[in-house]
Amino acid sequence: MDLIDVFWTERDALYRHAWKILGNPQDAEDAVHDCFLRLSPRDKAPPEATHPRAWLFRVLRNICIDRLRARQKAVDPGHQDAIAAQLHPGGAQTMTAEHEVIMSDTLRRVQDGLRDLPGEEAETLTLAVVEGLSYAEIAYATNVPIGTVRSRLHRARRALRELLAADPHALSEPGA
């Protein structure tokens, strides 16, 4: 399977990730399109053969961060150093507004918790849990050591667990 095949297989996940970083579907679509244009037809094997998916996420993430920088520059040319804080600006709330889910109390609380997580923790959590990347792949995609991936996941979950534990009745059966 060459990179373009991997890309097509992963396009839903890439689109979700771009939306998460950029906060709106149109920018996400543009970023995924840009990512595709960067793939060379000559790339029969991924440059990082062990992490082809992670390589795509990394390329896409860099494109998204460039777009955030451009956006930030347009808004405030003097402050371009807060890009990490902008990751996951709208997150679950933005996405679920257009995609109906069963909203149990648990889900509502997790949704609130995701919105309040630091961007890098929320990003790491969704790469692991939603997109199914291994810790090694996440480390590669986000350019941090595996230990950082583990600690970000742990902090994110601790925050969500504390939120759920605050009201035991939040864990009622959804859809009943």
Binding site: I4, W8, T9, E10, R11, D12, A13, L14, Y15, R16, W19, K20, P25, E29, V32, H33, F36, L37, P41, R53, G91, A92, M95, T96, H99, V101, I102, T106, L107, V110, Q111, L114, L125, T126, A128, V129, V130, E131, G132, L133, S134, Y135, R150, S151, L153, H154, R157, L160, R161, L164, L171, E173, P174, G175, A176
Partner: protein, 263 residues
Amino acid sequence: MSENERPDELALEAYADGENNAETAYVAQLLPGCEEARTYVAEIREINEAVRLLEGAVRAPDTLTERLNRARPANQPARPTLSRRVLLQSGLAAAAVAGGVLVYNASSGRGPYLQEVLFGDFRTMEAAGRRLDFASSDAMAVVGWFRERLPFELMELAGLTGLSIRGGRLCWLMNRRCASLEFASPKGSYCLYIAEAEGLKIDPRRALPEPGAAAIALSGETLSGVVWRDDALAYALIGEPSAPDLASVAAQLRIAKPGGTSG
């Protein structure tokens, strides 16, 4: 179990995330004997399921697929748009790969394996009070709930009509989407797990049966199970009834065939 033997929270989270290494193999070994650890894993899995439900529903829109098709190299075939994809059985394989199915391939020679993971899931759900994502005694409603959330078609309902269903959970086991339908019976509760079969092994020595071949019985200390495969999907009944009892349920379910497209 002593304090020193109890896995730390990061190791338990790695296990719940499906990481495949010596650390998680150690967790799998210790989990049956540590209720506290099982409870923690159940909580993590519940959070994971909630995050997936909230964040995993979005798919690339047709407008993006069309743009990508226009930009594709001349020697690459055009790919179907979302509206076509949901109608295509062949799209299911792509969704499986998107979920990371290939992480646990048969050639890796290491766990986790299906029996260990499913028995573990059943036990951890026990610790969590068997919470369901969708609770209903109406089999049609449960299957309908799953249809919008799975990258594959569930069976028709003929085989479910005589069974006492409680509801369902959307799982993420071994890096793939998995439906878990829960049933009650006089001999105890049990779950029907359904996931894409590609790359799964029952244990280090046993592959899944061939599609349509006889089911394989599983046994644990307190749980039993049967596993079979039809077409691209693996089915497992895991629970408190004996393996022969579960096998008779399996025979009833296997009369049903995968449903038509729901698009």
